[in-house]
Subunit: 335 residues, 3 copies
Amino acid sequence: MVALAGIAHYSEWGAVGAFIVCAIAVTLLATLVGRSVEQLGDRFGPGATGVLQSALGNLPELFISIFALRAGLVDVVKAALIGSVLANLLLVLGLAFLVGGLKHGKQHLDSERTRTIAALMLLSVAAMAIPSLAHGLHTPAIAHEKALSIIVSIALIALFAASLPASLRRGNAASDPHAEAPRWPIWLAITVLTIASGLAAFVSDWFVSALEPAMDALNISPVFAGLVIVAIAGNAIENVVGVQLAAKNQSEYAFAVILNSPIQISLVLAPALVIISAVFGLTTLTLVFSPLLVACLLLSVILVTVITIDGESDWLEGAALIALYVVIAAAFWWG
Amino acid sequence: MVALAGIAHYSEWGAVGAFIVCAIAVTLLATLVGRSVEQLGDRFGPGATGVLQSALGNLPELFISIFALRAGLVDVVKAALIGSVLANLLLVLGLAFLVGGLKHGKQHLDSERTRTIAALMLLSVAAMAIPSLAHGLHTPAIAHEKALSIIVSIALIALFAASLPASLRRGNAASDPHAEAPRWPIWLAITVLTIASGLAAFVSDWFVSALEPAMDALNISPVFAGLVIVAIAGNAIENVVGVQLAAKNQSEYAFAVILNSPIQISLVLAPALVIISAVFGLTTLTLVFSPLLVACLLLSVILVTVITIDGESDWLEGAALIALYVVIAAAFWWG
Amino acid sequence: MVALAGIAHYSEWGAVGAFIVCAIAVTLLATLVGRSVEQLGDRFGPGATGVLQSALGNLPELFISIFALRAGLVDVVKAALIGSVLANLLLVLGLAFLVGGLKHGKQHLDSERTRTIAALMLLSVAAMAIPSLAHGLHTPAIAHEKALSIIVSIALIALFAASLPASLRRGNAASDPHAEAPRWPIWLAITVLTIASGLAAFVSDWFVSALEPAMDALNISPVFAGLVIVAIAGNAIENVVGVQLAAKNQSEYAFAVILNSPIQISLVLAPALVIISAVFGLTTLTLVFSPLLVACLLLSVILVTVITIDGESDWLEGAALIALYVVIAAAFWWG
């Protein structure tokens, strides 16, 4: 698949074909990175898995974003960051509720862990939204959005660092569902991780160069491309895993996996990109998103927290979440 | 009363008098439609009642809105849609909490059913608000608000259709409070329903033609008229029923009746009006409401869900909800 | 300390020095007023304490605000009102969760009382925000913000009056933690109250006159000064008490003390200032705050209610609340 992506990149394929091949290759490599991180984590005790996943599991998304920033596609990157959160909270969580609810009736979520994750998710996403509010609403226009974005990024990463010990401990309780997974030898895990990450970097580059011509060919706006297409491709695996867990009636674990992604995006990926773009002189990425993106983000995050904090899910809530996602995506179609 | 309304319409009564008479006649006919739907529903098992009510119970409001659209009063219709939601969520729920709380102390709402209704209400109202957000916040001004409104309307109606089977089943559990109601013969129920609906159509027409002169005479802005007066008149009966149930300490049933109305408005009435206005070439109705209406709508719906999801109500929360309604109405007085 | 503040005011101290001395003097007098109110309240039964505190405990903040309005510092007063709410909800509650959580692990908040206070806080702050929404979002610009602010103020004070009987009863249950406090003779309590209040009026005046030069000297914007500095100075004591209670694992009582302050600000202090400024012809204070202040206020109040309504707190939620406060304060730094 990677070879195919290489061929697509260097030969004279149509823009859309190359884009699709690269998207699939990125997705597969993301799975491979995920699997090897998991295997590696098992060596150091189950708690380390979560931490390693936070640090390395976002590598493919990080590569895509960096190459897109180098190509000047700031709008795509911003939309993809918000889009990943929205896709996880509305589409994937909605699918998980829908599938789980249809198969098993009402599912219960009322453990302390669920509530802690939901609360942390709500607060971290809200903090990430503050620079946009400041930019959009402050009467004397702020010329300092870059400085503010960096301050906020540092605060978010500090919060993430503070949460690591708790995640390590949390991990212990959460790791049971993985228990049956067959183990790879440690050298295999490290080798696969290194190779997959390296390939992911190359394919991400090709994916980004295929993105612009594909957008033109399909007449899709950059914001829609980032919000829907890049966001869904970049999170494909977490998504499938989350829905599968819900189908197996492990609703709490599904919920933890699905909500972990928005937390990682707002506490790690977005701030890291802001700092990397500032340090390495790429096209400057700030945390100032377009007003509609921010409004949809805050609305979704509040809705999902309120709905899940009651400790129950059913398929109709899932259907409503999916409907909301469709409506938001439609609103960005004419971006 | 209907005769009186007819006289008022065709004779030379003052604008305000005619308006008041028509408002009372519409309200009485709405009750009659509601009663006959209920009696009819009992024939087909209690679950059908809820579904029939969703389909037919909004008929008078639908007639008023269609005539108002034909008369070009788009602002009144939009304000009345939002106003119905606000009146139900703040004024009527507030009154129910206040009356129930003063009579019976803290009332409990923590059944699964309550939470499911609150979650569905929150999500459907939020989805209805997306086109307004897109219009108000999207940097490249959207010329596509009509198309977006129709897409959103279809999504909302699809969600409603998906919720019907669950409502049918829910109905079974909820129907006990009705059990003592005396039954009408089936021919009587159908006859009353037909005649009342027909009359409602006429009186709605008169109500709308009386509305504009009355607004002028009383120096009320169209938005305030729709938001407060039309909204309260159009929901008078549900309101009285909801508050009565709370006074009888059937707080969960009261809550279900009161929150069902916003759900019907956002999942059925508003989308149906958008599609009807597009199909029959009336003044175009979109789901783009004024920013202040949307802000008050989203704020209220989030507040009410948060307050009710904790599973308790007391009279002070009721008083606070009423105060919030008064404050919002005051903000629109100088519309 | 008061004498020192007097010296600082009348002598040729540097602006910043005088400001700091006055700030400390105000804080100490606020404590003294608080202590004497508490002692006085004990005479009339424990329930009266809460009511007296609502009426008199805000006296120093009221004095500062009135003098600032007389000096034309409307922006500082507005920012200080919102800032007091934000500082209590994010910084102080965050510290209480952090300290309590680190010392005692998860703390539980799920009494009826907690939820009632959170709900009342949410509704009263939301009502206070309506005039700003109306001003910022209403398409035909409102020339009536003063009238609307007064209507809203009257509604808020009416709601407060309605809540007094319940507070009196609530007070009885809540008073146990005070039980060990040694009593002052009644004449001492009244004397201390009178003298401390009188001195607070003088020192507030000096504090305000020191504020402007200090802002200039330190190059701080009026909004930041009000939002962060005046807000924290004016609530110093409640803050310390709240965090101490959390450290002693009395998390519910800490929560009640901390959330009581935003309720008092929105139901008593802000409306009283609006009415006083209108009646006594000071610089007009309306309830129209800057859009960013309102957005941060509504966001914070919704987040805190959602997070606390689940009935648990842990130190990570506390850290996230503090991070959110830092981010918001940073957003106003370049005000």
